[in-house]
């Protein structure tokens, strides 16, 4: 975990509200693992006050990538940064996806909804280099919400897309697409990141199919490194339900540990 105050933004790609940033940040890149995240300072003043958590989309050599969607003030400010600017990054943070060695040679489902696709690219690359066969499910509201589709395909991954409005790929929710595929093939494992309703639906499917899985969760974060107790979610561990820190104990949790009802009424 380091603070890189001078991470240089080297490249910006954008599609409407979606942005792919490439940073030169050797120290963070060296330590990075799929599923970990950064806390990014989006403003020089106190508006907004806090850093924003964004997943590592990729790390290679001395470079990092993030993929994000403008969701409010902070991400809008971030989206306005230009190549050549230096940005203050804190990371890599949290516990990422754990890659089971026995998955080598097996098919693995990686399911991303909307901006939740962000950490799955890095994960899929790692899975592939460890000998597994990742299949990426990418769901969005409409075809314009699938900006990474080409990038994923040209990297050589098998990519299945879905859109709520039917404008591309499977018409309907990405969870329905996963369910349809599960009738045809039996993956060894599933990784997912996306909005809570999607994840909860997916959790139910995995349980029904006895499919082991890890989910990356989101939460509003004060610090990102365990100092504030602000980011907790209810987790069932060692037979007990407790509030654990998403920033330190997560953001990735094994499916069977996640307690869902909290996020619905919270």
């Amino acid at each position: 975990m380091v603070i890189d105050r001078q991470a240089r933004l080297v490249e910006v790609e954008s599609w409407g509200d979606y942005f792919l940033f490439t940073f030169y940040s050797p120290e963070i890149a060296r330590q990075a693992q799929p599923g970990q995240f950064l806390m990014i300072k989006v403003s020089e003043n106190t508006q907004p006050l806090l850093r924003r958590p964004i997943s590592l989309h990729n790390a290679e050599e001395n470079q990092l990538q993030i993929f994000f969607q403008v969701a409010g003030t902070g991400t809008r400010l971030l989206s306005m940064k230009k190549p050549g600017e230096s940005i203050d990054l804190l990371g890599p943070l949290g516990k990422g996806f754990s890659l089971q060695p026995e998955l080598s040679g097996r098919e693995i489902f990686c399911v991303g909804g909307g901006r939740g696709i962000a950490p799955l690219y890095y994960l899929a690359r790692k899975l592939r280099s460890s000998g597994a066969r990742p299949v990426i499910f990418y769901g969005g509201r409409s075809r314009t919400d699938l900006p990474l589709k080409n990038r994923l395909q040209t990297t050589g991954f098998e990519v299945l897309v879905s859109t709520d409005d039917g404008s591309d790929g499977f018409p309907g929710l990405v969870t329905s697409l996963v369910e349809a595929e599960l009738k045809k093939r039996q993956p060894a494992y599933l990784y997912a990141c996306g909005p809570d309703p999607m994840m909860e639906k997916l959790a139910e499917i995995c349980r029904r199919k006895n499919l082991e899985a890890q989910f990356s969760l989101e939460s509003i974060m004060g610090c990102g490194f365990g100092a504030c107790w602000g980011c907790v979610r209810k987790i069932r561990r060692n037979g007990q339900e407790k509030y654990l820190k998403v920033c330190q104990d997560g953001p990735v949790f094994p499916l069977e540990e996640i307690v869902w009802q909290e996020s619905n009424d919270g």
Binding site: F225, C231, V232
Partner: protein, 303 residues
């Protein structure tokens, strides 16, 4: 060389900058960022006797220049703290201060008594001012009588120096400060967070799971400076000021208003090394103003 040290009477600090409770974990969380010995001191997260689960999420919401939190004092409890954390803090050459909480007055005393049997604690900070635990944000620091009783009870069971932490959610802060002083507190720290709330227009629900929370950050600084000024004028014990300190200039404002030392809270989240920058900034400011001892700033307000 500027002399940054301050003397609180019961405790000498190498500089006036202390990391505030609830924003500095148990201290260990900041070890990856810098050498904790560089701090004047730090206050660990509030401890009850037993472990506590804290409040329902969401627990944080940002507002202009501020942060509302409703953590609800989640923590491992004083026994686990002494067993697992305190040994890891042993050997630090900075003041380790423990923030003491209680469901009722007797629990403060039980926690303090337990801590008093351990080495490595420079002082206790009595958190009689957390707005996140009881219905409606109530706490002992809202009444001079309850403040007096709580401080008195704790004094009786421990010889560790006490810093009593006051709440801004009161009509007359000086009455509470005087009650704490009369009960024998060695110092007073203020302010804790301001009871606050934010509403989500889409869902028409409060943005925090616990409905209300405590506001911290730059937004509260002017209120905090005013309260430090009022308290410093009315008590003899040293005052430790906090509330929205993000820079050395902010810290100096509190010191001029009467604070002998300061605490830095929310700033630690934004910049894990915020305290170090503030310490550095104090030296720079003193040099630029031909000042040899930073403690001369305390109470130097021209009013």
């Amino acid at each position: 060389m500027v002399d940054l040290s301050v003397d609180l009477g019961f405790l000498k600090l190498k500089n006036p900058v202390i990391a505030a409770s609830g924003t500095f974990g148990y201290g260990l969380e900041f070890k990856p960022f810098y050498d904790l010995d560089l701090l004047g001191g730090f206050v660990v997260k509030g401890l009850y006797f037993k472990p506590r689960e804290g409040n329902r999420p969401p627990r944080l919401v940002e507002t202009p220049g501020g942060l509302i939190n409703s953590i609800g004092l989640q923590g491992i409890g004083v026994e686990a703290f002494c067993r697992e954390i305190l040994p890891e803090l042993a050997g630090l050459k900075t003041a380790v201060i423990v923030n003491v909480c209680g469901e009722e007055e007797d629990e403060y005393a039980r926690v303090a008594e337990y801590l008093g049997r351990h080495q490595g604690i420079a002082a206790l900070e009595l958190n009689i001012s957390c707005p996140n635990v009881r219905e409606g944000g109530r706490c002992p620091a809202q009444s001079p009588e309850a403040t007096y009783r709580t401080v008195k009870k704790v004094k009786r069971v421990t010889s560790l120096p006490l810093i009593t932490k006051l709440s801004p959610n009161v009509t007359d802060i000086t009455a509470v400060a005087l009650a704490a002083e009369e009960a024998g507190t060695e110092a007073i720290s203020l302010i804790n967070t301001l009871l606050a709330m934010a509403v989500d227009l889409k869902t028409r629900k409060p943005k925090l799971g616990n409905v209300m929370g405590g506001l911290s950050g730059p937004a509260i600084k002017p209120i905090a400076v005013r309260m430090v000024f009022q308290v410093a004028r009315s008590v003899k014990v040293p005052v430790i000021g906090m509330g929205g300190i993000f820079s050395a200039e902010d810290a100096l404002e509190f010191m001029m208003a009467g604070a002998a030392a300061v605490q830095v809270g929310t700033a630690n989240f934004v910049d894990p090394d915020a305290c170090l920058k503030i310490i550095g900034g104090l030296t720079t400011w003193a040099e630029a103003h031909g000042l040899k001892k930073i403690r001369e700033v305390t109470g130097s307000l021209m009013a």
